[in-house]
């Protein structure tokens, strides 16, 4: 695995993504979701909302890193709020 040049932050990042996906799978098996419409312009499933939340978070990080001098942690905190909002009301 050394050839993959792992670092602790990236390992934690991918570990978190894997844990979220595993958690979502278990959640789906226990309680299958029903497509619904929230503030997003399309009706979405739980998995759709997770994808939109994660993709939006990635762009939010790029926006903060590319256009401001803010710490990347601010982008991460904003992303958590965004992800929560999309999952809950999206």
């Amino acid at each position: 695995m050394d050839w993959m040049a792992w670092t602790l932050p990236t390992a934690l990042f991918f570990g978190t993504i894997a844990a979220i996906l595993a958690g979502m799978t278990v959640w789906e098996l226990r309680s299958p979701c029903i497509e619904r419409k929230g503030f997003l312009p399309i009706s979405t499933t739980r998995g759709d909302r997770l994808f939109i939340g994660l993709l939006g978070s990635a762009y939010l990080h790029l926006l903060v890193v590319g256009t401001t001098d803010w710490s990347v942690w601010i982008a991460s905190v904003l992303s958590l709020f965004w992800l929560f909002a999309v999952m809950r009301w999206g």
Partner: protein, 287 residues
């Protein structure tokens, strides 16, 4: 909603493992590279988001990105209407239908580097038919030194190579329209334009979305053809994103910035593909 059986998911496992080794593991490696300054196999330093900051503020990459969007936009604006027009004029039955289908498929079978070489020679003023003919007609044409000529040549080359794909997709879409629609149009004495506007175009919507998505993704990742034809020149006039990225990763061996930029590149393609996918599935749901 009751789920009866989830065992079929195990059938997806071989594909998942294949994708993991061919795409997920390499992408994870790229993410790891993008946060480090790598000198050699054992000497590397964590730099956080520094490479992202650098590439997002790099004007060379901004220019490449702008060129790439203009290029993909031009490709779509030319190839989609032209593909539809060709599909509408293609014969539907008889031996001509088969012949035209074969002729249309030929450009799609030619490898990218060969297409680049064909057009590189075709456009040359000394030995190329197109370059020689244009210059003989008094039109100053030189794709190696004139930016506009280089752009026009790269675009025409792409149109020549890929319009067939759009045409063949549209042709199959047109053939799938039941004849009763045309019968109804004839009863109403609908004009050819009305038939196209109210029958053919709406029925082609799904096929066109696939065509637009394929052509966008492919043109957005274009590398070989312009590289062989113009080498990215004159200057950087036809240097598109993938060529800039290759120069950065292999030419300069700046693995960290190249990894960071390839992830930005990936996110752009992921977003656009998702938008098209959503539009397509939404279209299916509303039928």
């Amino acid at each position: 909603m009751k789920v009866y059986n989830n065992k079929a998911w195990w059938l997806v496992l071989p594909v998942f493992l294949l994708v993991a080794f061919s795409a997920i593991v390499p992408m994870m490696t790229v993410v790891n590279y993008s946060v480090q300054d790598i000198f050699d196999h054992s000497t590397r330093y964590f730099v956080g988001v520094d490479w992202y900051k650098q590439v997002l503020q790099d004007t060379r990459l901004h220019d490449s990105l702008l060129r790439q969007f203009i290029y993909s936009g031009c490709v779509l604006l030319i190839e989609i209407p032209l593909g539809i027009a060709i599909a509408l004029t293609m014969p539907t039955k008889g031996r001509w239908a088969s012949l035209v289908l074969i002729v249309m498929a030929i450009p799609l079978l030619i490898p990218w580097n060969v297409v680049g070489t064909i057009w590189q020679i075709f456009g040359r003023a000394d030995i190329g038919l197109m370059g020689w003919a244009l210059n003989s007609l008094g039109i100053s044409y030189n794709y190696a030194s004139n930016t506009s000529d280089a752009w026009v040549t790269v675009l025409i080359m792409d149109v020549w190579h890929w319009t067939s794909l759009v045409a063949l997709l549209c042709y199959s879409g047109l053939r799938a329209i039941p004849d009763v629609y045309y019968q109804a149009a004839r009863i109403d004495r609908a004009s050819a334009w009305a038939v196209f506007r109210h029958i053919q175009l709406p029925k082609l919507k799904s096929v066109l979305l696939i065509a637009v998505m394929l052509r966008f993704m492919d043109s957005f990742m274009i590398y070989t053809e312009p590289f062989v034809l113009t080498g990215g020149g004159p200057g950087n006039a036809t240097t598109f994103l993938s060529q800039t990225l290759t120069q950065m990763a292999i030419g300069q061996f700046d693995l960290g910035p190249a990894a960071a930029f390839s992830l930005v590149y990936f996110l752009i393609i992921l977003l656009v593909s998702w938008l098209f996918y959503t539009a397509m599935t939404h279209n299916d749901k509303t039928r």
